[in-house]
């Protein structure tokens, strides 16, 4: 038996509903509070609001995305899956 076909599970894939481009932010850690301060591409400080995250799907603060691996995306994220997509590491 040969295994040339993609796994059956990949036939169940679909795109995310909203895929609007999101701005790239960098984060600086506030020395006092250790809270991140977000800076946009023009060097301006971005206010995330008192709540920190948005529930609007135009930003990836949603739950369930296996895609946005933490530390590799460029948007404050609230994804629900662990960034442990490297099975050699997982949560470590």
């Amino acid at each position: 038996m040969t295994f040339t076909e993609p796994p059956w599970g990949t036939t169940r894939m679909g795109p995310f509903v909203t895929a609007e481009p999101v701005p790239a932010y960098t984060a600086v850690i506030d020395p006092e509070t250790q809270v991140a301060i977000y800076i946009d591409e023009q060097g301006r400080r971005v206010e995330m609001g008192a709540h920190g995250t948005s529930t609007n799907t135009s930003t990836p603060t949603t739950t369930g995305q296996g895609d946005g691996q933490s530390g590799q995306q460029n948007q404050p994220s609230d994804i629900d899956s662990m960034p442990a997509n490297d099975q050699d590491q997982g949560t470590g």
């Binding site: 599970g9 795109p15 006092e32 809270v35 296996g66 530390g71 997509n85 470590g92």
Partner: protein
């Protein structure tokens, strides 16, 4: 010599973790000392970590660009979303792999072995709890209702299961996947037509689960003994797909479900868990999964603020929580 000073809270996460910030704001208001670090990145950007073991016991120090931490005095550890270890960006191939592995086993091992610290959650328990088969086994032990489920590499078994009852497919792990146009893809839960099942099921294990005739979903976030349950009304079978169309309201948790949640967390060694349930018209709560490092800040603030406060309480209290 003992030292009764309350130690700092160590927060392990990447710098773009907006959820962590919600809790860090609360800890800052309470003047609880916090050290935030993303070891896989920061240790290549000015941070340092050294530990010693011997006749003097175990000691060590972590220094970040803004903090110095005596590792004997860590009150609690909040294991959020640290960047996966990869070694320095300047390296590649087997040298990068060597460095990344040493980081994983060395730094990961140090940070998982801090004496007396209260872990929310311990990383090895997170890892254990991420296995879907382990979740199902623990859910059964805890007395939850669990939908009929099969995990198989046998196409005939899969076809038969999906013929016997309406069923859905769920991956055992989410990996990044992109279509031909480089758009991010994800498996969305929807019903399986048995005639769609091919021999490509034999490539790897596939999980099929009876589709619960649910009237609504529940996300139950457990922080220690405190349970925060939200009823989610969604136009889609997979509510994650259109989070802009969801409505939420708090819902009380039946005593039997609360008891099972407590049993599950104890069994899995977890302090925090994000449980998903499908609830039928006659009030049966079916366990779907428990994410030991699930998100919660996407919930409306009326629902997420109490979770943030409960997490801050856990971290502030430390081992006495």
């Amino acid at each position: 010599m003992t030292d009764d000073r309350p130690g700092a809270v160590l927060v392990l996460t990447n710098s773009l973790d907006a959820t962590a910030d919600v809790v860090l704001h609360i800890l800052a208001e309470r003047r609880v000392p916090v050290v935030r670090v993303d070891p896989g990145v920061d240790l290549y950007n000015g941070a340092s970590l050294t530990t010693r073991y011997g006749t003097g016991g175990q000691r060590g120090a972590l220094a970040t660009p803004t903090r110095a931490l005596d590792l004997r005095h860590v009150r609690s550890v909040w294991w959020r979303r640290p960047t996966a270890y990869s070694g320095p960006l300047e390296l590649d191939g087997q040298d990068a792999k060597f460095a990344g592995s040493q980081m994983f086993w060395g730094v990961g091992g140090i940070l998982a072995s801090l004496p007396h610290a209260h872990y929310v959650n311990h990383p090895w328990q997170i890892r254990n709890g991420e296995y879907k088969p382990a979740q199902l086994a623990a859910a059964l032990r805890a007395g939850f209702l669990v939908p009929e489920t099969v995990i198989t590499m046998d196409p005939a078994e899969a076809r038969q299961f999906c013929t016997e009852q309406p069923a859905v497919y769920k991956p055992l792990w989410n990996t990044p996947y992109r279509d031909a146009d480089d758009r991010a893809q994800q498996v969305w839960v929807r019903e399986v037509n048995p005639t769609d099942i091919t021999d490509a099921v034999s490539t790897c294990p596939h999980l099929f689960q009876a589709r619960v005739e649910k009237s609504f979903d529940v996300r139950l976030t457990a922080v220690g003994a405190r349970l925060f349950a939200a009823r989610i009304t969604s136009p889609e079978l997979d509510w994650r797909r259109r989070q802009d169309l969801l409505s939420y309201e708090p819902i009380s948790v039946p005593d039997a479900v609360a008891a099972s949640v407590a049993g599950y967390l104890t069994d899995m060694g977890l302090v925090f868990g994000a449980f998903d349930f499908a609830v039928t018209a006659d009030g049966a709560w079916y366990f779907l999964e428990c994410n030991p490092n699930g998100q919660w800040a996407w919930l409306p603030s009326a629902l997420s603020d109490p979770i943030a406060l409960a997490l801050a309480d856990q971290l502030e209290k430390g081992p006495t929580a």
